[in-house]
Symmetry: C2
Subunit: 811 residues, 2 copies
């Protein structure tokens, strides 16, 4: 038994003698002086952003009218982030490094913004925020100001590809940025608050998926700031021994830098960061020269500095620096408390702005010289505007992978298995710019063909048994870890740094990353408003193992509701496709891989299914987005009596079978068969770029006939999308109604009324002209439905109807 929690004696606060794992005093006193001046310049700018709208160089005594009326923004992590940034500047210059900065605690945007301003990038990108008193004034005022820029590292921030609004994704984004970027080092500040999130906690394991020969490196700086909004952080309140062990366990070599004395902290940080950079280069050299990839314990820094570092330690007897009170605006009542206004003024003056900026507000040359130049400046790294590096994929012609000789409604093929050949060649043709991501399900999702072009990346240990079909390799192209968060984070990072990719996942568990996808949508939407941002490749999500074939896994595996989450995002950035068969799936995937700046969601089952369209028909159907299938309709040249519509592969299968039942039992009934592949076609053109005008809607769906609509997901989404369509009161939507269990596919459909019998009965019930025949046929259908259910239950098998049903050939 080893009690470890009694260790208040084990002083682990930042207030003590400076302490560091790496020893050495690499800086000349003169360098320390300059670097600390640079630090003070950054801190001055941070405070200015939080508080000031005028008198920005404090040439006049500070008055309330110089301050913003509403004080917003975060101070807590600014110092630690700026401190790290400026120390990396030294190494960029010394070793000519290519470094991207990822700010996990993006709430500390003032740090990042101030650095960008100091190195001149901000003024180059936004000339009205010039390096002058007037420019500084505009720079201060816009921060966290209505119509200005937000208080995180938003898309407007030069060099940022990670906003840090929602916490948890800095490490996975950082890894995504360095895959296939062998020279890049992504310096990543990880907040100790963020570290408590699940996604961050598992993403440290990303080292088992990084190849030191062909990938760059992530250099994390865990910022033990000590506090969140109102609580201590877990990692700041465990012993050094546990902290050290945790990161060794995660596969890193942690180097501690700890303290609050600036002079000695500069020496410690300089020595430590340099040691890490040298170590990274040594690892890479070893791996690259030997052409033998291995997993080292990559170096990382644990920086324990006081929260709100360089603020007053106490205000009116209450702790400020080194406590959670410094999280946001450090002194909140300066507008109403003259003493505190005075305190703020003297605090700002303590940075000695007159020594840092000239009379016109320009950083003095001596300090300017500390920053790198050109694209070596972290805030100007092109990777931070990854779209500018993006080159289109080399795509094989998807038509070459067509399923041939399709007898509509009769041929049975594996759409996903077939598409995986296309995917294999997409990988093959783009060996350094395209990756496939997925949580351990690529094989289960029938995509194993990809492994022929690129195996699964694995830098963990190898066993003899891996030769037995393991498909593992140090230089693979498929990334699999049982963490949707990590997969999504890697992919986002990979796209945002200029490359392409795809996530494949079981449909039910994609909800795990609802919030991440939300945030990515918001990021790419905002980027549209930022002129200098080049568009990035679309985020492609392929959902399979879908609800209608999750009968055997039961209720927990049935949830098609991700589409509702996506549909709430801006029409500018989201697309949803439900290809009904193999050739439409190919056409859609090709389209998605060519597109930019979208989140494309593609839903397709992985089992074998009946096929409907030849390649030419599929291309036409996909380009229209929805359409009437004449071969499955019998209303040619006439008004139909009823429209049978479907969206999704299994729903289309059942709707077609329902149509066949109607043809069989009531041959005189005119049934029009409609299939929807591009979900947003259903919306009015005014509300979505893919929407259609009412005129077109009416030509397909009519405005006076009953429409039976069989949908893949929850039925209400269709009602929502077709709100105010002419004749929408005639629309009867079936879909998953949260009626699940361990079942056969047929029974699952029956429970949710999406099976052929229910749909045919729905149609009969809605066509008023049928008279007495209706009730007779209705009864027969109910009888058939019951018999089919019973057969399934007796055998514990799919009803034959599902597996072996074919569309009857017309005479």
């Amino acid at each position: 038994m080893a009690p470890s929690g009694e260790s208040s004696s084990n002083n682990i606060s930042a207030y003590g003698a400076t302490r560091s794992t790496v020893k050495g005093q690499p800086l000349e006193p003169e360098e320390v002086r300059k670097m600390d001046a640079y630090f003070r310049a950054s801190m001055y700018l941070c405070l200015g952003m939080l508080y000031m709208r005028d008198n920005v160089l404090l040439k006049a005594p500070l008055q309330v009218e110089h301050l913003k009326a509403r004080l917003l923004g975060h101070w807590g992590s600014d110092a630690g982030q700026s401190f790290t940034w400026l120390h990396m500047n030294r190494l960029i210059k010394k070793y000519d490094l290519d470094v991207l900065f990822v700010s996990g605690p993006g709430h500390g945007a003032p740090a990042v913004l101030s650095q960008s301003y100091l190195e001149g990038v901000y003024s180059e990108v936004y000339p009205d925020k010039s390096e002058s008193e007037k420019g500084m004034q505009r720079f201060f005022k816009q921060f966290s100001f209505p119509g200005g820029i937000g208080s995180h590292a938003t898309p407007e921030t030069p060099g940022s590809m990670h906003e840090g609004g929602e916490l948890g994704y800095s490490i996975s984004h950082a890894f995504g940025s360095v895959f296939d970027h062998p020279n890049l080092i992504t310096l990543t500040i990880v907040g100790d608050g963020e570290s408590e999130t699940g996604p961050l906690a598992t993403s440290w394991h990303s080292t088992k998926f990084l190849n030191p020969c062909t990938d760059g490196a992530v250099l994390p700086v865990l910022h033990l700031n000590g506090y969140k909004i109102n609580n201590p952080t877990v990692l700041a309140r465990i012993s050094h021994e546990e902290l050290q062990a945790l990161f060794v366990g995660y596969g890193w070599t942690p180097y501690l830098v700890e303290g609050n004395d600036r002079e000695s902290m500069h020496q410690a940080m300089a020595a430590t960061l340099e040691h890490c950079v040298v170590e990274i280069r040594k690892i890479q050299k070893q791996a690259r020269e030997s052409q033998k990839a291995f997993r080292p314990r990559w170096p990382m820094v644990i920086l324990r500095s006081p929260k709100g570092w360089s603020a007053p330690r106490e205000v009116d007897g209450k702790l400020l620096e080194g406590f959670w009170r410094s999280h946001q605006i450090p002194i909140t009542d300066v507008l109403t408390n003259p003493a505190h206004l005075k305190l703020l003024e003297s605090w700002m003056k303590s940075y000695k702005p007159e020594e840092l900026f000239d009379q016109d507000g320009k950083l003095i040359a001596e300090l300017k010289a500390l920053a790198p130049t050109g694209n070596s400046r972290m805030s100007a790294n092109p990777v931070g505007n990854g779209g500018s590096l993006r080159r289109p994929l080399q795509l094989p012609d998807f038509r070459d992978y067509a399923l041939k000789d399709i007898d509509p409604g009769i041929s049975v093929r594996g759409s996903m298995t077939n598409m995986s050949k296309f995917l294999r060649d997409v990988v093959k043709e783009n060996m350094t710019t395209f990756r496939v991501f997925g949580p351990d399900e690529t094989e289960s999702n029938k995509l194993a063909e990809i492994y022929k072009a690129g195996k699964k990346v694995w830098l963990g240990d190898y066993f003899e048994e891996d030769k037995d079909g393991g498909n593992l390799a140090v230089e693979g192209r498929v990334m699999e870890i049982l963490s949707e968060h990590t997969c999504e984070g890697w992919l986002e990072g990979y796209l945002l740094s200029g490359r392409h990719g795809m996530l494949n996942s079981y449909e039910p568990f994609i909800h795990v990353i609802d919030s991440m996808v939300n945030q990515h949508c918001k990021w790419i939407e905002k980027c549209l408003e930022v002129e200098w941002r080049a568009k990035v490749a679309s985020l492609n999500i392929l959902l399979t193992a879908t609800v209608w074939r999750q009968d055997h896994n039961g209720f927990t595996h049935q949830d098609p509701g991700f589409l509702d989450v996506v549909a709430n995002k801006s029409p500018e950035v989201v697309r949803i496709y439900l290809p009904p068969d193999g050739n439409t799936l190919l056409s859609i995937m090709d389209h998605c891989f060519r597109s930019v700046n979208y989140v494309n969601v593609v839903v397709a089952d992985k089992q074998e299914h009946i096929q409907f369209l030849s390649m030419d028909e599929a291309i036409e159907h996909c380009s229209k987005g929805l359409g009437i299938w004449d071969w499955a309709s019998n209303d040619q040249g006439h008004e139909p009596d009823v429209v049978m519509a479907a969206c999704g592969d299994v729903p289309t299968h059942e709707a077609l079978a329902a149509t066949a039942l109607l043809n069989e039992h009531i041959p005189q009934l005119k049934v029009r068969f409609v299939n929807v592949v591009d979900l947003f076609r259903l919306i009015n053109e005014k509300d979505h770029p893919h929407g259609m005008p009412d005129r077109q809607w009416k030509a397909v769906f009519t405005d006076d006939k009953p429409i039976i609509f069989n949908f893949h997901s929850y039925p209400w989404l269709i009602h929502r999308l077709t709100y105010k369509r002419p004749g929408q009161q005639n629309l009867h939507v079936r879909g998953y109604k949260e009626k699940g269990n361990i079942d056969t596919p047929f029974e699952l459909a029956v429970r949710n009324q999406t099976d052929r019998y229910s749909l045919a009965i729905d149609a009969i019930d809605r066509v008023t002209s049928l008279g007495n025949t209706a009730s007779h046929i209705r009864e027969r259908l109910i009888h058939q439905q019951l018999a089919a259910k019973q057969q399934a239950y007796d055998n514990g098998l799919d009803a034959d109807y599902i597996r072996n049903w074919k569309y009857p050939k017309k005479e």
Copy 2:
């Protein structure tokens, strides 16, 4: 530099000499023999469940017709789970322990089911699955069979409170179960696949929130099974050194048990589990006798056994045992391959069923005696049916906390701040059965008053500075960690084990746990179908820091879409409330705390707001769920010209202001004001228990007048809920349309057309009778709107309209 990845030499597979940290041979040879027989009995049952529907004791040669036609289920983790279970049985008996079993890899349900059957609980709960040949036949057949039981530890499973369908929550659920259950040990199998998920990776830190005096203990067994569906697991492919370090870093003392030789593994597991149990009791004794809570390094087991243990090592030269091929059905083609059928038969016979079960299929007495009896059997632990332990909360009278002297539309109060007093006393009256959970936001959410009754639980290190308003304590009632996953998991575990609680969270980041809430909904819905399951307390989620006041945090903090996710779940289990003011909030919270088996979502802003209703009016309003506010309407005794409706506090505020504008500019216009507090009142009564008939709908909303509906969340949800309501074509819904930025609340409302001016203009545009006056007034309103925007931008402040607006008193 310390390369660690070259260590294939460092043999860490389970195939080697048995290895364990704890030494000793506590078992007599006779005990080993019996325990291994018990293990074989369990494995035999597991295989039987996967394959058989007849000839269950193999009295006749195995034929295809004895097998199920569709083979489903998971074999991979069954052995390790059963092995652990039976070893705990010995200790339960020896030390008279109270132990709950949580199966992280719930997909290995056969293990849990077989143990329940062996100890007789299954037959007690389901008498048709008796301890007989016929009972065993039914027991086998139902598994993963249509209409039977699922292949995870579903609600039908005796002793299970954790299904393990979606992975990642076993440890947080386990901790939830032991809080305030001082004698309980929750033995938790954690899969190495599950371990890769984010939620699981951070939940190991739960030890910093467990008080050894008043809480029980979690004993995790990390099952290093080696493989997922198709991949090795990360934790099984790092060195012993890293593995050990990781868990020391997380705050545990890991004890290794590793190997594949059953005899020595029995000794190793017996010694190790016993050591852990003794250690737990020692820690508890020390803490309880000294009345001094501390954080020890709690013991845990790392069990490395082969995946699919006890299966054939190879089949046709392909690895099975110890490889991912044993994940699900280990030999898949037995229905068509006679040689493999034979192999299955000899494999099953290798367990020697005739030595384990008597002629009638009953476990022999010698083995039966190994299991505990009565409620000491893990599958009979009442905590696994937590509803049976639930006692109603002692609730203070919420009316005593009423906001008094409410002048409707004029009084301004902090609804949340006031409600927190009620919450404080709920805590105070239920000091061992109610907890509040939240990710570091309780104070920010204006609920700090609770700390007066119960501080924040903290078993991490304490610093001197914590005295400065830290509100930390070893025996608190508030649980805060910056992980929505962990908070939600703890709360679910706490509820499912018979207690009560509430989660408070920022609205935008509740999407982080969409999938967890989905799964909880599915669990409690299924429980309704399981007769012996007693209902548990509702899961109460209080969402605040809502979209309309996230103007300053910007776009990433604006997402009210959680309601859409919840609305997709079964009407049997979900409720959504949007109280418009302080007294309605009190009434709703009281209602939620009394309810059972729901997920209650309550949305309420935390800022000060104008108030509308006295306590009596609030109670009446909440019990009706929606209603006309006469004091804000001028259509008394008449048909209105327009209905102004609102749902949510800020939307109600703006809709009321719009009504005031209309009254001011067009006094003759009859405006009816409607407020909705219970969202599901909008649905038809046929579709939700809270729904209302069309007749009532019409009485409130009319079926022919324009309705301007100002909604808190995305507007489409209202269209979906009111689909097919009479007059729904007259419904014009405004809400958040994903138009966000860094803004003032007023500007944010304008961008989404939910501000008073837009609403008033909407009304004017829809009332056709206004004629020429309309365009004149319209212009005036647009002018006022622009002026208000400008004022906000100039000052960087909320428009005065928002902060200081009052409803004008009527004459």
